[in-house]
């Protein structure tokens, strides 16, 4: 294994159909018109010395190291800023050029500390490399002139240092922040010799910087450098893998020294991220080695007992005997399992197989239940597949982007960077969100329309948009006639044209000015390629599935499906939401979304698995809780999921768990659910196992083992052991064999194998004989279900209403530096930016209640109450408050209700009627919960080590 260093061709690739022929040092190459001389040279294998250029940044031409000679031209132009011309003949090395370059290097080095041997970038420094490349042997100016050698280091950022004494002012960091990340946090202050890089005049940690790491990666010296490299030294090998945080699914190189991760570097060949990253994937991986990780299996009879550390055999044996006992006593259906969107496809597939084949029932569900289940239902009903329609790169061809109920700059940052780049390039933007999210107005990005709807009125808004399209003659009639079911379309057209769906008629309910809504609809329908991107603000509602269908209707009616630049695209929350759904985690369907009552499909699985399978759908997560309280559901195996913190109405969840006799939690940490567990199986982090994740673009990417599992078994091995102990044999030697089985049993995965993934890097399903290398854009030649199906989407207001007692609407979400229940990110220095959950409230609502910024406030709903600090913010609209759910001691879900999507039971997290008032103390529930938690997470000290 070696350290992977991707080639840097100096300037970005240019797309052009016109090819020009040039000759560099006697070698001929054909390149697209607009390509730089530097890139053309690199393509012939000639590396021109450079410092300020990099192929992910626009050429800048400041360092003057890349000079070349061009036949017939005077002087020595910079090759990075000179475009090639037909027939050009370039020479990159002559004695004159060499001497010029040495001169440039001399100037740089005369103001640079000569401490290469002790510099953390030693071995990974382009300045050092260039000194070598140009043959620098002396510095005639001496080192005594004015210099910056004493400039102080800014170490305020928890993950990287800024040492200005090493800076050569090449501006790569500034340009990376602008062009790659789109945050515009850095600038060059001063002029000439005095110029320095500055984070807007403050320390990095206090600046606009979002710690994406792009500048650190771009810096050719050790000026901007990861603290981990400063502390541990340079890595010596890399393992290419996939980020385990969000649904963007960025590819990373885990750069290692032995079994220690030195840093995570975004991988340039990653097709989801193209070498970019966000703070979570790039820096917040320290949880994997956090001291609170549990590395030994543990059991206890009652949840009030202290945990007892035992061997894997004993823990697995105990769990299996309990499950068998429960099934014998209460029936085959009394147990079930939960798969996790944080685990790999292979692990998820095994858990559902264990439930269906080992338990003999279909009581398996996944945490996607609580986030994107309506996406599956809605898109499958209208278009025929339970997945987003595009690849991320499609956005580069979008002319109009409509973002609905999503906050990509926080939740999907790397996609947001790509989106912002397209918006800076001229695409128009419509934002539909109760909050004024950052995208509405940020440096160099401004939404054309922000429709600030009231939470819970999505369907009314999407219907009104469609109403404008239908009644103003903006339907793409030929497209609809060719691709959609005519009868359903006519029914829908008649419904949507009714006056009650007009923008004016719904304005009262939605709070969206009718004129803005009409203008937005016209822009979407007539602005060229229009693409919808949406998030949990769409799905986590009682009409989540209806809204997904409403978006599909709108896209079909305007012909915005089936080619690059358009589509309906869910931004998936967790890394493997798509994958866990694909793998048959839902109680009613096998992998590939095929219903368990389908005899042909079930027979195929029965034959492959050599066991009879249940024909009836099993219990969904909320049904499991209800059944537990009814006394008919007694045991569950929960892999990688924290039900207590993430599911709605925490008190109901904890009561249900407490009513069960065997709860097996398989996780990295003693999470909140483990409070109610009888068996704890230590999980493995994404660094410790092989497998695959599937991101929001249906892209299957490899997760590769960088270090051995810290607790001895990878998650798939533990599941296998449990199945074997239950009496259903599983004998995989490697996760690739699990993928082979998935491919054999799932038509959309038929062509997937580890060998192909290694070869292609990643694959977007469907991948089969018809599309052997995968499918970037769906529905290109007609819809997967045959004809597109318009569904009538009546707006039904949620039953969760405000009244005098609960006059405000609470909506929940997440922020950039934290991730979901926070189990990982809370255990990293990311807490610098988000140490607690805050309640955002509009100044007007705050003033009415005598609340000041930073006050402790209590939030009451019909289900419960919790106390947290207030943040007075203009981003909110009056009447709406907002919080995150990253911290268990706040536990926003104590107040959320059990109202849920009608079709899929996805909870209505986004709408809870609440009251907010000042308080002096934490809520009774918080105090009680803290006590329970303390009492139920004790670990017994083994006898022999007791004093």
């Amino acid at each position: 294994m070696t350290l992977i260093r991707e080639a840097d061709l100096g300037t970005p690739a240019i797309k052009s159909s016109v090819l020009l022929t040039v000759e560099v040092d006697g070698k001929t190459v054909m390149v697209p018109e607009g390509t730089s001389v530097m890139r053309a040279a690199a393509l012939t294998g000639v590396t021109v010395p450079k410092l300020c250029a990099s192929d992910n940044l626009e050429p800048f031409g400041s360092c003057r190291l890349c000079l070349v000679e061009i036949e017939g031209r005077r002087g020595t132009p910079a090759s990075c800023t000179t475009p090639v011309e037909e027939g050009m003949r370039v020479t990159t090395q002559t004695p004159d050029l060499a001497s010029l370059r040495r001169g440039v290097m001399e100037l740089y080095i005369s103001d640079h500390p000569l401490d290469c041997l002790t510099c953390p970038a030693n071995g990974d420094c382009e300045l050092q490399d260039m000194a070598g490349a140009v043959g620098l042997r002396e510095v005639r100016y001496g080192y005594d002139g004015a210099n910056h050698l004493d400039a102080p280091v800014d170490d305020s950022n928890p993950y990287f240092d800024f040492d200005p004494s090493k800076c050569i002012v090449c501006s790569r960091c500034v340009r990376a922040c602008d062009e790659v990340q789109g945050t515009f946090a850095l600038n060059i202050m001063g002029r000439g010799f005095d110029s320095t890089v500055s984070a807007g005049g403050t320390a990095f940690v206090d600046s606009e910087c979002v710690s994406c790491g792009a500048c650190v990666q771009a810096c050719p010296t050790s000026t901007l450098i990861e603290k981990s490299v400063v502390e541990q030294g340079q890595p010596e090998h890399s393992v290419v893998t996939t980020c385990a945080y969000c649904g963007v699914g960025c590819a990373f190189k885990a750069e290692m020294r032995g079994n220690e991760v030195i840093r995570m570097m975004p991988f340039k060949d990653g097709k989801a991220n193209h070498g970019h990253s966000c703070v979570k994937g790039r820096f917040a991986w320290g949880y994997a080695t956090h001291s609170e990780r549990i590395l030994s299996p543990m059991i206890r009879e009652r949840i009030t007992d202290p945990w007892r550390e035992v061997s894997w055999e004993e823990a697995i044996g105990y769990a299996a005997s309990e499950f068998k006992r429960l099934q014998a006593q209460y029936g085959r259906d009394a147990v079930g399992g939960i798969t996790s969107s944080r685990c790999t496809n292979e692990e998820t597939f095994l858990v559902q197989k264990l439930v269906r084949a080992g338990f003999g029932n279909n009581n398996v569900d996944t945490c996607a239940r609580v986030c994107h289940s309506p996406t599956g239902y809605g898109l499958s009903a209208t278009l025929g597949t339970s997945a987003g329609t595009q690849d991320f790169d499609s956005v580069e061809q979008a002319d109009v982007v409509m973002v609905i109920g999503a906050n990509p700059t926080d939740a999907h940052p790397v996609f947001a960077s790509q989106l912002k780049r397209r918006l800076r390039g001229g695409a128009r933007l419509i934002v539909i969100d109760p909050r004024r999210i950052d995208l509405v107005k940020m440096p160099h990005v401004q939404a054309d329309y922000h429709l600030p709807l009231l939470p819970g009125t999505n369907v009314a808004v999407i219907n009104a948009l469609a109403h404008v399209v239908v009644t103003e003659g903006l339907v793409d009639e030929p497209y609809v006639a060719e691709r959609c079911e005519p009868e359903a379309f006519e029914r829908w057209r008649a419904f949507i044209a009714e006056e009650r769906n007009s923008p004016e008629a719904v304005e009262g309910a939605t709070g969206v000015p009718a004129a803005d809504l009409r203008a937005a609809a016209r822009l979407y329908a007539t602005g060229g390629n229009a693409a919808i991107y949406y998030g949990l603000g769409v799905t986590e509602h009682s009409q989540g599935s209806t809204m997904v269908m409403g978006m599909a209707n709108l896209a079909m009616a305007t012909g915005n499906l089936g080619r690059p630049g358009v589509g309906v695209n869910p931004l998936r929350g967790q890394n493997n939401v798509q994958g866990s759904c694909d793998m048959g985690s839902f109680p009613h369907e096998f992998s590939g979304y095929r219903h368990v009552s389908n005899d042909g499909v079930r027979t195929m699985f029965e034959e492959a698995w050599d066991v009879g399978l249940e024909t009836e759908p099993g219990l969904r997560i909320p049904n499991m809780f209800d059944a537990a309280l009814d006394g008919t559901f007694k045991g569950m195996y929960i892999q990688g999921e924290d039900l207590v913190q993430s599911d709605p109405n925490t008190k109901h969840v904890t009561a249900a768990l407490a009513a069960m006799e065997c709860v097996v939690v398989h996780d990295l940490f003693l999470n909140e659910t483990a409070t109610y567990a009888h068996v704890f199986l230590p999980g493995s982090s994404f660094l410790e196992k092989d497998g695959t994740f599937t991101n929001a673009e249906r892209r299957i990417s490899r997760v590769r083992k960088a270090i051995p599992p810290k607790a001895g078994l990878a998650d798939w091995e533990a599941t296998m052991a449990l199945s074997n102990a239950l009496g259903y044999p599983m004998t995989y030697e490697h996760p690739s064999e699990i993928m082979d089985e998935i491919a054999r049993l799932t038509p959309t995965f038929a062509g997937v194998s580890y060998e192909k993934l290694d070869r292609l890097g990643s694959i977007q399903w469907p991948c089969n004989d018809a599309a052997p290398e995968g499918t970037p854009v769906m529905h290109e030649h007609g819809f997967v279900r045959g004809q597109g199906l318009f569904m009538v989407t009546e707006y039904v207001p949620t039953d969760e209403r405000t009244n005098d007692r609960f006059p405000l609407l609470l909506t929940t979400g997440r922020i950039l530096t934290q991730y979901n229940v926070g189990a990982q990110t809370r255990r990293t220095p990311n807490v610098v930016w988000h140490g607690e959950d805050l309640l955002e409230i509009h100044p007007w609502d705050a003033e009415n209640r005598g609340i000041n910024d930073g006050d402790l406030v209590v939030v009451n709903s019909r289900t419960g109450e919790t106390a947290l600090r207030a943040k007075v913010s203009e981003r909110m609209q009056p009447g709406v408050v907002y919080t995150t759910f990253h911290h268990p001691d706040t536990s926003a879900n104590v107040v959320t209700t059990e109202f849920a999507d009608w079709a899929t039971d996805c909870p209505e997290y986004k709408v809870t009627a609440v009251q907010v008032s000042r308080t002096r103390q934490r809520s009774a529930w918080q105090t009680e919960y803290a006590a329970t938690r303390e009492a139920t997470t004790r670990i017994a000290v083994p006898a022999e080590t007791q004093p």
């Binding site: 014998a328 209806t546 219990l619 009546e794």
Partner: protein
């Protein structure tokens, strides 16, 4: 449970009556676990208080799933 069934009925209410009933029934068959279907069938047998008219009709069309077997664990 009644609330849930009514939500489903409301979504399909815009279809012609016969089709709507069939779609509600189909939804219950495809997504509701047998013990939930048994419960709602039991509720309808007792008059079906609070149920939307379409949901009521749809539940009447469901076959009662076989009763849960006891102690058949392996």
């Amino acid at each position: 449970m009644v609330h849930k069934a009514n939500q489903i009925a409301l979504f399909f209410a815009s279809f012609p009556r016969e089709e709507a009933i069939e779609r509600v029934a189909d939804h219950l068959r495809r997504f509701w676990e047998p013990r939930m279907r048994r419960q709602i069938i039991g509720h309808v047998a007792q008059g079906g208080a609070g149920l939307h008219e379409l949901a009521l009709e749809a539940v009447r069309r469901l076959d009662a799933p076989a009763p849960a077997e006891q102690g058949s664990g392996r």
